[in-house]
């Protein structure tokens, strides 16, 4: 167990070093969520009466800002595993696989690095939201929100690592990731309250861990809970999701990297 922690940290350290030295990506990756929050946030400002009907008293942009924070977390973490493919192609993976560290620690190290990077990106989005005037009733909530984002991203990065370990090419990876990422975001109350979704969509959304993360982050930011889903339920769902993904990612990764690439 001790050695699993140490090895996970080794891989985590390497991933963060690489991230730090390739800074150019940081700002580019912020452009898309910034556009979401500014453009969509203002485009749909006319829907304010709708969201007020389910108990929000602020503007639409305040309603959807938590959704965009989660969007940033979704995409940063689901894209994050792509370097697994590079590692397999350019030999780092074989170097790690022929050293005494366990296969799981490679997956877990990558996942923890991705989730931290994802949280950093999301915190920048919080900054943008504050800058364009989204009111934040309680700034002390930022820390627990970050904790939720880290936890959620840890689970989501598992999806990325699983797809990257299974895919043999970049094309397959991006194909599958794009197929998964957008629907998971859309099938959640990120942009629209759960109560106003058609029944069948709302039902599907309830099986989506993104839903619970959005609801939880929004409740922490605005103080309003929706759809009768309590914060405790949300935390429970996220926790189970993360545990399942950690287990699944370790298992699939170990199985896949033992096959010839």
């Amino acid at each position: 167990m001790n050695s699993l922690m140490y090895d996970t940290y080794t891989v985590f350290w390497r991933e963060l070093k690489r991230y730090k030295k390739s800074r150019s990506g940081v700002l580019i990756r912020l452009i898309q969520p910034a556009i979401w929050i500014i453009v969509i946030g203002n485009t749909f400002s006319g829907t304010q009466p709708l969201i007020q009907s389910v108990g929000f008293d602020g503007e639409y942009i305040e309603f959807m800002a938590p959704g965009v924070i989660v969007l940033t977390a979704i995409f940063t973490s689901i894209f994050g595993g792509v370097n697994t493919l590079w590692d397999r192609r350019y030999g780092f993976m074989n170097k790690a696989l022929t050293s005494p560290i366990s296969r799981s620690s490679i997956a877990l190290g990558k996942m923890s690095a991705i989730s931290l990077i994802s949280a950093m990106q999301s915190s920048l989005i919080i900054g943008i939201a504050l800058a364009i005037g989204v009111s934040f009733p309680n700034l002390f909530m930022i820390a627990p929100i970050m904790a939720i984002v880290i936890l959620f991203s840890l689970g989501f990065s598992g999806i990325s690592v699983i797809v990257a370990a299974t895919a043999k090419s970049q094309e397959t990876f991006w194909g599958v990731i794009n197929f998964l990422g957008m629907p998971l975001f859309m099938l959640s109350p990120a942009l629209f309250p759960l109560e106003l979704l058609p029944d069948w969509l709302a039902t599907i959304a309830k099986f989506n861990p993104v839903t619970y993360t959005v609801l939880l982050v929004r409740e922490m930011m605005t103080g309003v809970s929706e759809g009768g889903i309590s914060a405790f339920l949300s935390i429970g769902v996220i926790a189970v999701f993360v545990l399942v993904m950690i287990g699944l990612a370790s298992y699939v990764f170990t199985r896949e990297v033992n096959k010839p690439f």
């Binding site: 030295k21 390739s22 350019y90 170097k95 022929t98 005494p100 560290i101 094309e171």
Partner: protein, 331 residues
């Protein structure tokens, strides 16, 4: 106990027998060269020995541990330097070694000392804090090799350590390999395409082709077995078979390889054989276009066992690989 030992080792991919029932043993402390054309089974064998692939049948032991049942112990006893550079470009030289040290569980209190030592040995102390992006090909290779050595493995696997390097750099890398072998006295298992490299570095050489070991011996014995001289000859004739039959009758000739209008003749007394050849050719009215007498090289040995020249193959292979790489980069 042998450092590396295989017993009837086989690996099949679908219908292809990449490694076909090979058995060999490498002594502790030896530099063992593993040669073969591309597709001969070299890489598959090295991947089995480094625990990256599981054999289909047979057994492989590294440092006394079975690569399948005791993979972890094997991993603890080996260093593996891959053909392509695997250092992280964004990290500095020192950070790369630090990563390697942690991957190989070097005790925390020894890490810095080991890194300093190894940097000294490969003469990269001055550049240790520079990002690897700024390193030349030779420097990267040295860093790669250093990474494989850091934890003082019992067996060091070097997969084509000088491929793609210019000749000066290649010689420099050979010096480092000799130096580290002297310093750490570990077993080195080396694959290469370059006969000169094998000749320079290896105590013994195994030639593999079509998934099977063709011969294992010292470079010296191999060359001697070929006779101590080689006559290369180009000729024109309508009836080459007749020519060959006559040549075979010459006493000192040990072996003749024919490649279209070219002959490679292995002999022990070349200066006396050449006049004989001319006698036969004038008798049979064969026109000799060129003739030369040289010492046998391992290249000649290699061709005589595999029937093909490595470099010819190599070009096509590298071009294909380059092509694949470009395709990936574009994707």
């Amino acid at each position: 106990m042998y450092s590396v030992e295989t017993r009837s080792l086989s690996k099949t991919f679908g219908a292809v027998k990449a490694v076909n029932d090979i058995s060999f043993a490498v002594e502790s402390g030896e530099i063992f060269g593993f040669l073969g054309p591309n597709g001969a089974g070299k890489s598959t064998t090295i991947m089995i020995l480094t625990t990256l692939l599981k054999p289909t049948s047979g057994q492989a032991l590294v440092s006394g541990f079975d690569v399948v049942t005791h993979a972890k112990q094997v991993r603890q006893s080996i260093g593996y330097v891959q053909q392509e550079s695997t250092v992280d470009e964004y990290l500095s030289g020192r950070e790369n070694l630090l990563l390697q040290a942690r991957l190989n569980h070097i005790p925390k209190d020894q890490i810095n000392k080991r890194i300093d030592e190894i940097l000294e040995l490969i003469e990269l102390t001055d550049k240790q804090n520079d990002s690897v992006v700024t390193y030349s090909g030779g420097m990267r290779k040295r860093l790669d090799i250093a990474g494989g050595l850091l934890h003082h493995p019992k067996v060091l696997f070097l997969d084509e350590p000088t491929v793609g390097l210019d000749i000066q750099t290649r010689r420099k890398i050979w010096e480092y390999i000799k130096k580290i072998h002297k310093e750490f006295e570990m077993t080195i298992f080396l694959t290469t395409h370059y006969m000169e490299e094998a000749d320079q570095l290896c105590d013994r050489i195994g030639i593999i082709d079509h998934g099977q070991i063709q011969i294992i011996d010292t470079p010296e014995n191999m060359k001697n077995a070929m006779g101590n001289e080689v006559i290369s000859l180009k000729f024109e004739s309508k009836n080459p078979d007749d020519f060959l039959t006559h040549l075979h009758k010459i006493e000192y000739i040990k072996k003749i390889n024919k490649d279209n209008d070219k002959l490679t003749i292995f002999t022990s007394n070349g200066t006396q054989v050449i006049p004989e050849i001319f006698k036969i050719s004038s008798l049979l009215e064969i026109k000799i276009i060129s003739i030369s007498l040289t010492q046998p090289t391992l290249d000649d040995v290699f061709i005589s066992y595999t029937g093909r020249e490595m470099r010819d193959d190599d070009v096509g292979f590298n071009r294909k690989r380059e092509h694949a790489k470009m395709k990936r980069l574009r994707a």
